[in-house]
């Protein structure tokens, strides 16, 4: 293999940082979900990369579980966005403040 482990990990760090930027800055609820997806994918990339270089199949198995759970999370998140949109007619998270004390 031509690529070293550290290259994959650096790409994964970049993806993590972009995802955290999206979660912290964006006020659109769907764009925040995009950021969460990127963070989850950087974690999966790390799992598979270490699983290739150790080598062990457990990392890949765990990445498969993680992808499936991420799919469930996106389904619930988008349903929450739809409910919030019907209540507030907006998807700006600064407007969702019924729970604010």
């Amino acid at each position: 293999m031509a690529n070293a482990l550290i290259d994959f990990i650096l790409v994964s760090v970049a993806l993590l940082a972009i995802g955290i930027y999206g979660i912290a800055v964006k006020r659109n609820a769907i764009r925040m979900l995009f950021g969460i997806e990127m963070v989850i994918n950087s974690a999966n990339l790390n799992l598979v990369a270490f699983s290739r270089y150790i080598p062990n199949s457990q990392g890949q198995t765990f990445a498969l579980f993680s992808i499936a759970i991420a799919a469930a999370e996106v389904a619930v998140g988008l349903a929450l966005v739809i409910v919030a949109y019907r209540m507030y007619r907006n998807i700006d998270i600064a407007d969702f403040r019924s729970l604010k004390g």
């Binding site: 995802g19 499936a68 949109y85 600064a94």
Partner: protein, 170 residues
């Protein structure tokens, strides 16, 4: 050293991840997100994990893309193109991104991972299938239950009839 395929994949992944957050239209943003996730699937192929790559493609590009596009289409038109954000918050976010990249990057480059190379054979994906059905079968059942319950929960959340339109608390 890295090869050309790796370089192209990383440019595609990072570039479309930035585009997904910064493009004005939410529809093009979700398409860019799918490009970024396909790039991650390409990395999985480079890492000799074709099973995970196909799973990633079928779950993310197949189903989550459709979910996100339908949700975007249910939202009002001007909200799709609207971009409200603080300037100061944005600069703080960019600073946070650079701090995370440089901080974790220097820690990882300084660690002993740089010398880690492998000559061993790739993991056989038949072994993953066997593991799923033998050692991990309780976890597989729990995962199926989680998926089913979350999908039922999402459906009941999304089609609640008692949510009145335009109900605002303030």
């Amino acid at each position: 050293m890295v090869d050309a395929v790796f370089l192209a994949l990383s440019v595609l992944t990072i570039g479309s991840a930035i585009a997904a957050l910064e493009i004005r239209s939410l529809i093009y943003g979700s398409i860019a997100l799918m490009l970024a996730l396909s790039g991650v699937a390409g990395f999985f192929l480079l890492l000799d994990a074709p099973f995970v790559a196909m799973f990633q493609l079928s779950v993310y590009v197949g189903s989550i893309a459709v979910l996100i596009l339908f949700t975007v289409m249910l939202v009002r038109r001007e909200l799709i193109f609207n971009k409200v954000e603080d300037k100061r918050r944005r600069y703080a976010g960019i600073a946070l991104m650079i701090v995370i990249m440089l901080g974790i990057g220097t820690i990882i480059i300084g660690s002993g991972l740089k010398t880690m190379e492998t000559n061993s054979a790739e993991v056989d994906y038949k072994k993953i299938g066997e593991d799923f059905l033998t050692y991990y079968s309780p976890a597989l059942i729990v995962m199926a239950l989680i998926l089913a319950s979350s999908i039922i929960g999402a459906m009941t959340l999304a089609r609640r009839e008692d949510v009145i339109d335009g109900q605002r608390a303030d």
